[in-house]
Amino acid sequence: MSNTTEKIEYVSYLDHQGKYKGIMSWLMATDHKRIGLLYMYAIITFFFIGVLLGLMMKLELLAPGETIMTAKMYNSVFTLHGILMIFMVVIPGLSAVFGNFFLPILIGAKDVAFPKLNRFSWWIFIVGSIMAVLSQLLKDGPPDTGWTFYAPYSTTTNSNVIMATAAAFVLGFSSILTGLNFIVTIHQMRAPGMKFFHMPLFPWALYATAWIQLLATPVIGITLLMLIAERAFQIGFFDPALGGDPLLFQHLFWIYSHPAVYVMMLPAMGVITEIIPTFCQRQIYGYKAVAISSLAIAAVGFLVWGHHMYTSGMSDQARWFFSLLTFIVAVPSAIKVFNWITTMYKGSIDVQPPFLYALAFIFLFIIGGTTGLLLGSVATNVQVHDTAFVVAHFHYIIFGGMGFAFFAAIHYWFPKMYGRMYDIKLANISLVIKFIGFNLLYFPQFIIGVQGMPRRYFDYPEQFQPAQVISSVGGFILAFGLFLMVYNLVKAAKSGAVAPANPWKGSTLEWQIPSPPSLENFDEAPIIKVNPYDYK
């Protein structure tokens, strides 16, 4: 950096040659963009394993009785599906992939605050993932507790619970360190002149998410350690036969795991908030409201965990109180939805795949959100608790929400990440297939859930079969759509047309630099004076 007047030669981060060569240049990378891609490849791999397990369950549910697997096997399959999808896909998901890749760029920084810690987080993420896989293969047999590890079953079953919970503990540690890194990055590394309220809204969402990761994850950490100790030494924190309290486990578990739902959702909302102004070429409506609603969701989200436990034997006071708080958390979520839709009003809308994904997100999120209110209300919750209704609601929020936001983010930022463009038409076709498949897969479950189909059952009375068959068919349509999307993107990454630096005419910082970005993102630190969504 001795001669600042000389222009630095542009080399993309993908071609940059550092200390290490070949595969090691990835495994040892401290570049936030490479780490983001590493997370993405790992997460997509786990996602497809999870999808396969999901399809196995759908095959089993095609007909009443034992179809392709035993009840015990079914328990293991849904447990692994849950552990993979929750701890290895959706919790790291958007923040580890797109947060790592785009947070520094969006705030005009060269990297995250602690690049080596970032690499370390990725390593322990892989260690945790390997442990989760091992828990399936070791001799005691795969865990069959469900991803919630509810005591006392989890303290007494003979399956490999210790390894699975230890894996979740390690994965949680990775999540904490990523959150810590992002908070410090946002506080310390913003470009000159960028105040908090000059940040784009994806960093705002990541900021709120990072606080949840930081403050909630230790609680599940200690809970899982207690569970491990209980299994190893017959301690009896949670097992009523030993004087413990199973309700205590549920409280501790959900103190983390409900906020964790917002770890999944907030970055998804952040992505949508980036996409909509770009394709409407319009300033986001209510910037401050959207920014603060992220923090509000994070804050209130800490206080609503009890709504998972209405039927667990909590006191009535606790139940109505948690119900009230649950309804309150819907308010900032609704603020976001209204602001997205209002942003479109009188915008010059350019209908491109990322925008269509964002619309699909809003549609599915509204269904998921409003059915969430049914579950938040004590009286209706008791009716549909632990039924397929909950499964449908959860998947509408997490898959329809976070999943479709992930797809939206990939299609939005793909030209920036790889410098190439995918086939727009194929992207749209795969979206339509996924959208149809998704609704066929999950919507029938609302109906049979209300009629009394329990979740996690591998058998059912014959009256539910038509809905189950529709659901299974939807599952395969969805999987086909996913396959088509991956085919399109992989092909584009290899041989797509070279994309311009700013294909969508975005106004945020990532579109002002070449695609793919250089190692340090910016030749010189950008100076920020205006708000990020300044469209003429």
Partner: protein, 205 residues
């Protein structure tokens, strides 16, 4: 090219490092917070048994360990001050004293635990299985909480040993002492948790 890479690595922001450490300390507090919550639930439920069980612990030994940790917290702060004044020799001495105190703490803990193990009182033992629920939970929590705390002592010691050698190599100096500062912060945390553990375990009788 390599010039650019070096530039990334050399990026230094002490304020960021300290902020990171503070955030990490929050997570540690919440980790123990979960245990304190469980402790309070069971103490309310089985207060008689908790009261009786705590009589089994040696208040003298616990108090001694408290004093040792408080002294070590003071000496690590003194080491930092010495480093800020560029007094390398004194900094090394004070880090050494801190490490000695930490070892002494573990030594006492070893005897305390050892005596209980000797009487057959340890998690998973036959004696533990015979205890009634309140006593069982008290001793389970005792071993779990003090064990986890001892683990943090070991982590803190590791960090301070690294600091010791960095001071010796002059990697930590009066211009760049953020690592020692973070080590000291972490050490204070370890001390602080003990300040809560001591009354909850030893002084409730």
């Amino acid at each position: 090219m390599s010039e650019k890479t070096v530039h990334v690595d050399e990026h230094r922001d002490d304020e960021a490092s300290k902020l990171g450490m503070w955030l990490f300390i929050f997570t540690e507090l919440l980790l123990f917070g979960g245990l304190f919550l469980v402790y309070s639930v069971f103490r309310v439920q089985y207060h008689e048994a908790f009261h009786q069980s705590s009589l089994e612990l040696s208040v003298t030994l616990g108090a001694l360990n408290t004093v040792i940790l408080l002294i070590s917290s003071m000496t690590i702060a003194m080491a930092l001050t010495a480093m800020q004044k560029n007094d390398q020799k004194r900094a090394l001495i004070f880090i050494g004293i801190t490490l000695f105190c930490a070892a002494l703490f573990l030594f006492n803990k070893y005897f305390e635990w050892g005596a209980k193990f000797h009487h057959g009182l340890y998690p998973g033992s036959e004696l533990m299985a015979l205890l009634d629920r309140g006593h069982l939970l008290y001793f389970s929590l005792y071993f779990f909480m003090t064990g986890l705390h001892a683990l943090h002592i070991v982590i803190g010691m590791t960090l301070l040993i690294v600091c010791y050698f960095q001071v010796k190599n002059k990697k930590i100096n009066n211009k760049d002492y953020v690592l020692l500062e973070n080590g000291a912060l972490y050490w204070h945390l370890v001390d602080l948790i003990w300040i809560f553990l001591f009354p909850l375990m030893y002084l409730i009788s």
